[in-house]
């Protein structure tokens, strides 16, 4: 099944005789690096595809000012796996292993901007898992949230929390 799809991809990339449907798409990152991808990849990125559709496929160079050349390859890699039907638990685990917290958030924003539903779902779960059962301070640091409670307000909340205190995982400092 997956084999079939990837061989289709190959035939798509070879048949350049029909430029309107199979010309490669150039994605330009915020720092002006060009990434050439197959049209099938662009289809995974709804934002990009709707841009192509709006211009009847005449424009194949798409600027993505919000996405850096550091993040874009990850997005492309995920989309490639996705159209090849090769998104497995193992692949996803390997994929996030390479990413630190900041990168996960950046990719998450990129997925949101490009409107890639699968990647967005996947990364929100990753972030949720990374902050589950962490301390309040860790969560604040993770998201860059400022504590806007007065000391009295916070003390009261902490007191309520203490009734149920069940212990949190140790903060993994090396992550950030």
């Amino acid at each position: 099944m997956a084999e079939e799809v990837s061989s289709q991809m190959n035939s798509l990339s070879i048949s350049e005789t029909n430029p309107s449907s199979s010309a490669t798409i150039s994605l330009v990152s915020g720092d002006d690096i060009v990434f050439k991808v197959e049209p099938t990849i662009a289809k995974e990125m709804e934002t990009v595809q709707s841009f192509i559709d709006e211009t009847d496929g005449k424009i194949t160079t798409i600027p993505l000012p919000n996405i850096s050349s550091h993040d874009l390859p990850y997005v492309i890699e995920y989309c490639e796996k996705s159209i090849a039907g090769k998104i497995t638990k193992e692949f996803e685990a390997e994929f996030v292993k390479k990413l630190n917290n900041e990168e996960v958030k950046e990719l998450f924003l990129a997925a949101n901007y490009l409107n890639i539903k699968k990647l967005l779902d996947f990364l929100s779960q990753v972030i949720a898992d990374r902050i589950a059962n962490k301390s309040v301070e860790y969560v604040r640091r993770y998201f860059g949230i400022e504590n806007d409670f007065t000391p009295e307000e916070e003390a009261k909340l902490r007191e309520e929390l203490a009734w149920t205190f069940t212990g949190v995982d140790p903060d993994d400092e090396d992550e950030n």
Binding site: L109, N133, V139, G144, E146, N147, D148, E160
Partner: protein, 171 residues
């Protein structure tokens, strides 16, 4: 996808000035918060005022309660399964282990055979015991987490009901 439509927040505007981190927009934060596997949502309330308001949001409360109940049900039903497995072990308990202990020992072959049998039975018994011990430990862990969940749930409901009396006066 709508970007930054709802506007009940202070967080992003305030926090961007302070932090060098990547700041996520509100609707993405909600997406994440709805997925957190929570043992205790009261911790989230301490993060900032906006998170505190999210935790009291009826939609959040509903999904938290829903998940909590199904977790509790799961834990209970696995505990029940373990209990049932204890019952099924009963049949194997070798009640006759000591029965013919003082049989005559005239035939060496018989004695050997008997001993081998006993040993096999004991072996079997040991395996069952090990297995029961494992089950007991899992049950213990399950029951502890069940207790925790119930305690968290109880305090959460207390605080939620206290902080949102308006919701219930109208019912």
């Amino acid at each position: 996808m709508a970007v930054m439509t709802r506007n009940r927040l202070r967080m992003t505007t305030e926090a961007t000035e302070v932090s060098i981190n990547t700041i996520l927009p509100e609707e993405l934060m909600i997406e994440i918060l709805s997925r957190i596997e929570l043992s205790n949502p009261l911790e989230l309330r301490c993060v900032c005022k906006w998170w505190k308001s999210i935790v009291a949001d009826p939609q959040f409360v509903e999904s938290y309660l829903h998940r909590s109940f199904s977790d509790v049900l799961d834990l209970t039903s696995t505990a029940m399964e373990h209990v049932e497995s204890f019952e099924s072990h009963d049949i194997y308990l070798p009640a006759d282990l000591q029965d013919d202990e003082d049989d005559d020992e005239e035939d060496d072959d018989d004695v050997t055979e008997l001993l081998v049998n006993k040993a096999a039975q004991l072996d079997n018994f040991l395996v069952i015991l090990e297995c029961m011990k494992g089950n007991l430990n899992t049950m213990k862990v399950d029951v502890i987490s069940l207790k925790r969940r119930m305690k968290c749930l109880e305090s959460f409901l207390k605080i939620y009901l206290k902080s949102a009396p308006s919701l219930f006066s109208s019912v």
